[in-house]
Each structure stands twice: as C-alpha cells, then as structure tokens.
Symmetry: C3
Subunit: 389 residues, 3 copies
C-alpha cells in the first residue's frame, strides 16, 4: 500500500492498532457529521449499548468488545446447559460434511488482518466523474480478509477490501482455514460467516453468547476451519462477513467478501464483477467526512473500473454492506430484474442482499455506474464501465 | 402482564391513559435520541403538523387527535356534499357481501384496548444473543387489538402485540365485530384497516376527513362490524392496522396484526410464524431509548423463538410496520424469493410489505434470525429459530 | 400559475432566479428541519463538497455549479486525451440511430425552464384526507421540462412538474430537441438523461468531467438533439432527469419526467397515470417545512386525483425521485407484483425505480393511495383514486 499514501495520510503510528482513539481532525462536531447523512449507529457489545456518532467513537465499542470473555461453550462439544434459554439442541454435535460424489473440496486459507487502506488512492485524489480533485486525508486502518497460500505460508497478493472471492459449484464443499491475524492487544475475536451455502451449527461462524460454538469466537492468533456445503439452492452470489462479538464495527471496517456458487455445468460469464456498496463513516474510519464507497473506494477512477468488449457475457453483482438501502444504475444498459420477467436498469438492494445485472454487451463506450440514491452517488458511490468495440 | 413487570417498570399510574405526558427519564435530550437513529416523525392530525422528536412528544399529537370531531359524513349513508372535492361517488352506498357458494363466514370479535407491554419481559432483562443483561425500564402503555369471545363477552387470552391472526380461505368473507375499548377520556377514534382482502368503501376502515364512512371513525365505546371478501388474489399474508385520525401513533403503539388467506385446498404449513419488524421509539413509548422490535419485543429470548423439526414445511412471514425498510436474514437456510426463480436468504421489505421464507426444514440446531440492517439487529431486531432433529 | 398564488406566496421577486439566496422564513433552524426528517444532503459540485441542511443552502451548490467550466471535450469529436484515466474508447465517435424498418421517429421539443410552482395549489390550502386547512406559503421557484411546439415556437401547455410523458414503441427512435431555457445568469448547464432506452455515448446526456460529450453539458441558451432507441427490453415506464454538473439539485427542483415504451402491438391501458414520489425539502424549496410530494404536489386534493370506471384496464406507475425508498399502497385493490407470481398492494421502490399497479377495475368508490412510509404519507404523499360504477 506504500505507493498509495502520502504524508498527510499517515497521522497514525504504524504500530498502533485501530482499537485505540484515532487521530481525528478536530472540530468535526456531530453537526457536520449528521449533515452529510453519515450513519449514527447503536452497537450492542458486551451488554453495553454504545452510540457512535463521531470520529473516535468506535474506540468505545472496541473497548467493550475487548472485554467480551470467551463463552463457556467454546470450545464446543461442551453443551450449553444451565444458562437461560438452553435447549436440548444446544447439546447436539455435528460432523464435517464431505463433497457430493464426483464433486470437490474448494480449499482456502484466509487471515483476518489489519491494513492501511486508502479510500481515494489516486494522486492527486481525483473524482473523474466531476473532473475535480479532492482533499485528504483518505487513509484509515481497515480490517480485511486476506487470502494466504497453503498453511498460511504467505499472503496471496496485498490485503484488500473486499476479501477474496470464494468460488465453488453445486455439490462441492468450501473449506476455509481461517486465522485471526489481528493484534493480540486488540482482543478482537472475529469469524467468517457465509450467506447462501449450507452449514451446520458448528460452522455458522456466529458469536451467540452462551450458545456460541467453536467457530463463533476466534481470538487473535487462533485458527479454525469452516466447512460449508454448496446446495442446488446455493447457486448465486452471496456475501460473507464477520459475525463475532464486534461484528458490526469490524464488518464496517472491511471484513467482508463474496462467494460465487454455480451449477456444475454452468458457464461463467466472460466478465464478472462483484461490487459492494457501503458507507465509510467517520466513527469507523476516524476521518472527518463520510464516504459512500464501492469496494472500499470512493469516486470514479478509484472505485472499480470494469472493462468488457462488445459480444461478451457480462455479470455485475451488487451487494449492500451497510445500514442503508441502495439501488444500482448502469448507464446505457438494461436487463431482466433477478428472477422476474421485467426489465430494469436501477434495481434496489438491502444490506447483505445481492442483485445481478447480466447482459450480452452491445454498447461500446465509457459508461457511468452508480447508486441512484442521489446523496450516495454524490459522496463517491460511482464508477466507470468501459466497453471496447 | 403482572409477572412481566418489576418495580422500576411501573412509573405510570395504572389509572392513567397513555394520552397524557408519560413519566420519562429526565436528561434524555434530542441528542441522545437522534444518536441512536430513532425516528423523528411528523404527524398530521386535525390540521396540525406535529414534530415528534423526544419522549413525551406523542402527547401533543394525542391532544390534537382528541380534538378531531366526528366527520359530518359519519354515520354514512348521508352523502358528503357541499365540501371541497365532493364527487358523485361519495353518494354511493354499498351492501354487505356474502361468502361465495359453499364458502364460509369467518367471524371475529376484536377490541382495541390498552395494556402495559414489556418490550424485554425476561428477568433479568436478557439479550441471549450477546449473552448479557440489559437495563430497564422496558414497559410502556401500548394499544393493541385483543381477541374477544362472541359478543365481546370476555378476552380470549391476554392483550398482546400483534393482535390475533385472522384466517380465511378464498371465497370466504371475514366479519370482524370491532369495538373501541380505549378510555372515553382519550377521545381516540380508531379503526381496523386490512390489506389484501377486498372491501367496498363502507368497510375500508379509513378516516378520510369529510369523506369518512361509518367504519372510518369508531369512537371509544362504539362498535362497528367490518365485512371483507377473500378473492383469489387475496391469497397471502397481509397486515391490518389502525387507520383512524391518529393512525400513525396508534399503529406504532401496537395496533396491528395479520391476516392469512389461503386457497380453498391449500395446505397450511406445519410451522407458521408472522414476524412484524418495527421500531419502538421514545416518542411512542416514553422510554429513554430506541428499540428495534419483533412483535413488540426486543432481543433474542424476548422476541419470538420459533421451533420446528426436520422434515416440516416451515413458513415465516415478515411484515414491516414502521417508517423503515428492513431485510430478513435466517441463518442456515435459504429459499426462493417470493414469486421469482432466484434464491435468497436476506430479502428486503418496506412498511406494510410482506415477505415469506418457506422451506422444508433440513438443518437442526439453534439459529439466529435478524434484520440485516446492522443498526436494527444491534437494537434488538433478532431472535432464535430452534430446529429439532 | 397566477391563480394558484396568493400574496403570502410571492416573497420572491419574479425577476430573481432560484440560484440566489431565497427569502426563507427566519428562525427555521436545523433543529426544526431535521425534526421532520428532511433530507440533509451532500452535493459534489465543481470539486466542492457542500452540505445542504437548511433553507438557502442550495445557493452554495448553485454558486459552485455556476463555476463549472465547459469541459475541454465539449463539443465532442475532440478526443479526451492527456487527462487522467483517458481511454481509447473516449476517442470513439458514434452515429445517430434510425428507427427500425416500419417504425417511427417520435419527435419532441422540450425546454428547461423556471416556473413558480405551488406545492399546495388549493385555496384555502387543503388536506382533503384529514379534512383540514394548511398554512402557507407553498410556492417556490422550480425548474422543469416544458414541452414546446415544433421549433420551440411556443409552449404546449403550462410549465409543470413532472415534464411531459414521452411515448414510443419498440423499434422507434425518440428524438428530443432539448433547449436550456434557464437564465443566462444562472450559468446552469443541464441535460436530459433517460432510463430504459438505448443510447450511445453521444446521447447519454451526462456530465462526465473530462469525458463529457456534447449532450452532457447544455449551457443556458444552447440546444442539443438527443436520439434514443427503443429496444425490446426498453418496454416499460422509465424516468428521465437532469444529469448535468448540478444534477441532484436541479432534479430535486423538478427536472424529471417519464418515458413509456410499449411493444409494437401492445394495447395501452384505458387509464394510465405516472406518479413520482419525491421529497421537497427546505434546502431545495426555500420553504420552512418539508413536504413529501407526488408529482410536485402535497396532500390529497392537490396531488393527482386519478379517475376510472368499473371494467377499465388501469395502470398506475410509481417512480422514486429522491434519496428515499417508498412503497405504494392503493386502498381497495391488489395486483400481481411486477414480473412475479405473487399478489401485493404495497410494493417497494427505490430512487429512479418504477413499480406498476395494473388491474381491471372492479371496485367503485373513493379510495386513498399513499406511500406507506408513515412519515411520508403524513407529510403529504397521498392522493385520491375515484372509481365510477
């Protein structure tokens, strides 16, 4: 990430971890924050209700999360009994599924890690849509899922937001060796919770208080292997994200990614792009202003520039990853709305919901895509789609 | 409700009615209220625009509603003429429909009533998801639809939120004998307006100013019988709610419920649950903080715990009942999105819109369901789904 | 518009243009503004991030927009080279499409113009739903698309919000002769960007900074002819709106309208109505309170009153045109949700998304339609639907 930073972007000591008070520009009161529609949030962590309204407030939530003790039920197999609401199903244990006959294990090594992340990496910081330069700083300390080589030997490419795309076909199992590489001092237990695929409770990857199983609380330095099944009704594109005790903050910091599950004989599109639409608000980033981001970046030229050629089969999958609803507009194109007989060029989506724009490309040129919530596109939720003849 | 209250929950004199200023904790300024995203609202009542931003503000709206006079058009049959916008259709009168041949009258006796309602009835107040205890108080004076035995002789079970589920099949008529059992002193006219079924204007149950018909203004102590037809396109699960002069506040206080209309030969699912997703904000409850509720309760262990067994046909219907959009995530499951060919595990819904998750159960264990708007799940909009092997 | 104004509605000098500070009632602080949920917005114009939170703030955005220079790429044909992110596709040029054989050119002359627009034109200002009178003022200086006769000779009817409905069939091209009739002094370049139809980059009608083509920056006094193709997948009802450098503000001021594209042999419904659901907030109108509008009007009796007769084929198309999500409820009716097999009476829609309620009328009387976001219907987003026997 070194080349994407400049001096004004590094107010934070590299040795810090994000779970302390960030160095936030002064004078950014709640007024300015709310004025840009940034998301005041309420978090429930360790029994404390914590309101996040301004830069730095995340530190309160992190402090609460750091005090969440390992649940008595973790490691699991030890039944959750004698706690309010305990049920016989909490004593059940579950095996690890195998692939269907003739199908495969798709194996991934993934580590939760911190990284300095630049929301507007172009220099000068540029909004190519409006043809203007933007002020900084735009770097914050993100938490992301980083793909590793076998045995966590070394990173596969730089740490990035979103995490790696996990791919499989119906009948396969996806096996994720997950390691919490966050600093010990943060004491942040995290997980990797998938949508769409089938998992039994051992692999739900969710912190559930007294009912948490082993995969729902992975402390710094610990590892866990998740195994998930790809059913016929798993076909589609789905998000994964943190579901530990501090899941909202850590998800909003970048702990999310996508799974793509296809039928066994399904042809992949020629061009395929997953776009996460998500807010990056001052309480999360410690920066002074709100960004509406696509895959962690804001403003055309920084957000993903998608490329295709006339005649190609193009699929763009958009997933919401914040508290807001969005809709996806692509200039110069239209397609059938997912699973229906009608045409659209601006379908809506909610948090963790996926919509897909799929079409055979027939319209060369430079096109804008953007969220059609006007205040979102104006705060950076836009990008280029370039079609060659 | 006695066993769900404790001393700190009864700041209100039982003889009070909710239409006065509630005893609200001091020092909860607008800042804290907005900081948790609670819904500042604008109500239009009796010609007054009233902004609700903090505990106690509902009293202003109630006072305005109490001054709404009986419309000159009620009781109806008396045409609305000589008023701005009057139209010949306002002179039309309409009969009471009968069931189709071979079909039935589904008859209900329902009374609008006040009840002390505990948003977190567990003691200690418990968020089982996060494994923590919560502060109180959590009781407020709700308004709900209570099912009564024939002739309003006596209540059928305790007053609860939501009101009773009304069930019928295509060809039936639903006949609701409705009584406004709210205190005379409140002077709150209320109604019972259904979605999905067919009704003529006499049974629309909506206050419409000068064009109100008899069923649109039921004053305290009054009764009215609504008759609604179940058409083939009424098949589905639909909300009902107050649509009187103060409908927004009274709906937000708990005056809502569901209708389930099936085809004549349609098999009911083995397990069926209706979940209302709705905010319970300080201006409505008089409590100091905002809750995001499911069926009037907040936090897993208080919200409905749904139970099923492997092999059962399960249907979960989710209906929005506030100003917000939500989406419904169920861990460990996925299903076809309503009326389409695609799979989902997180469909979106708007106010008074219904989505259904329906599947054959195959995945035993303890599962979390929740709204996937992160700030909503963190404020209580979550619950348990327990599947026995 | 003369008869829709009264003295208290004309605080603005007719010779003013809306791009100066409006004469806003004093004492309307941010508190009152936020209390009614009105939309604080962030605009990105000319590289400046401008927060709009109160009446008059739009002037800052307008001033920024007035300083946006003509892009070096306009008029086009001159390739955008030597600018960051330039791509070979930016050098491509594109011809003007013709209709398919046997199909037609649908030709329109449309001018962007200012008009004084009354949000509540009834006198006294009336909310017929609640049967009450409303305070003023309710007039502001809007920007709209006005239909003109051939050669811009003269207006075809009064300037109104929304702009004219453009109609065509599959295989046709729509040719819009567009003229920016806004005051020279405003220096507001505007455009006319359509959804649904096919256009090549010359006719995208979007300001794109250094990559803007001629149709994306039409300065006051200038003209441009857009040509758009109607494909089989263009069938439906779609919005058009401004997409110039100040598109958010100008769209929110009224620069929007609809296209209806039908199959060649498709029968038009007997009754067809397009309803735009959109907020009219103090930063845009300069008025002291927020309105939730339908086609620029607020409150039943001011918003469109739709009329039909039993037996008619009715289509009501609802399009979102602000930052919010809405849903559309029609009393006494239900229909198949767009492109699916399920029934609804309250479908959701996002910004620039269209939903359609279509049914054969069978239920005479006076009916209410409204957004079912409770706070929206209470702020004016409601109207009448009158069905004759």
């Amino acid at each position: 990430m070194a080349d994407s930073r400049d001096p004004q972007d590094t107010p934070h000591d590299e040795t810090d971890f994000p779970y302390g008070e960030l160095d936030v520009p002064r004078g950014i009161g709640r007024r300015g924050f709310l004025a840009v529609g940034a998301g005041a949030m309420l978090c429930t962590i360790g029994g404390k209700k914590i309101a996040l309204t301004k830069p730095g407030d995340a530190a309160k939530a992190d402090a609460a999360a750091a005090m969440v003790m390992r649940p008595s039920s973790v490691p699991a197999k030890k039944p959750a009994t004698g706690v309010p609401g305990a049920d016989p199903v909490d004593k059940l244990t579950f095996g690890t599924p195998d692939p269907q006959p003739g199908c495969d294990v798709q194996e991934y090594w993934i580590q939760a890690t911190q990284t300095l992340w630049d929301i507007i990496p172009s220099r000068p910081r540029r909004d190519q849509w409006m043809g203007t330069n933007l002020p900084g700083p735009s770097v914050f300390r993100a938490c992301v899922y980083q793909q590793m080589s076998d045995g966590f030997a070394e990173p596969v490419g730089p740490a990035a937001m979103p995490g790696p795309i996990l791919q499989a076909r119906v009948g396969d199992v996806i096996k994720v060796h997950f390691r919490n590489g966050l600093p010990e001092a943060s004491n942040q237990a995290v997980t990797m919770h998938p949508h769409g695929v089938r998992y039994n409770p051992e692999y739900d990857a969710s912190y559930l208080g007294d009912f948490t199983r082993a995969g729902g609380y992975i402390a710094p330095g610990e590892e866990f292997t998740y195994t998930w099944e790809c059913l016929p009704e798993s076909v589609g594109v789905w998000p994964y994200h943190d579901h530990g005790p501090n899941h909202v903050l850590n998800t909003f910091r970048g702990m999310f990614g996508a799974l793509i599950i296809r039928d066994r004989d399904e042809k992949a599109p020629d061009v395929e792009q997953v776009l996460f639409f998500h807010q990056m608000a001052p309480p999360i980033t410690g920066l002074s202003r709100n960004y509406e981001a696509v895959n962690g970046r804001a403003y055309a030229g920084n957000t993903p520039t998608i490329r295709s050629k006339v005649g190609q089969d193009v699929a763009i999958h958009v997933i919401g990853m914040d508290n807001d609803f969005h809709d996806f507009h692509m200039h110069g194109h239209r397609w059938r709305k997912d699973g229906t007989g009608i045409f659209t060029d601006t379908p809506s989506l909610g948090p963790n919901e996926t919509i897909t724009a799929r079409f055979i490309e027939d319209n060369p040129g430079r096109w804008l895509y953007h969220c059609h919530v006007f205040s979102h596109m104006d705060a950076g939720m836009a990008g280029w789609y370039i079609v060659e003849p």
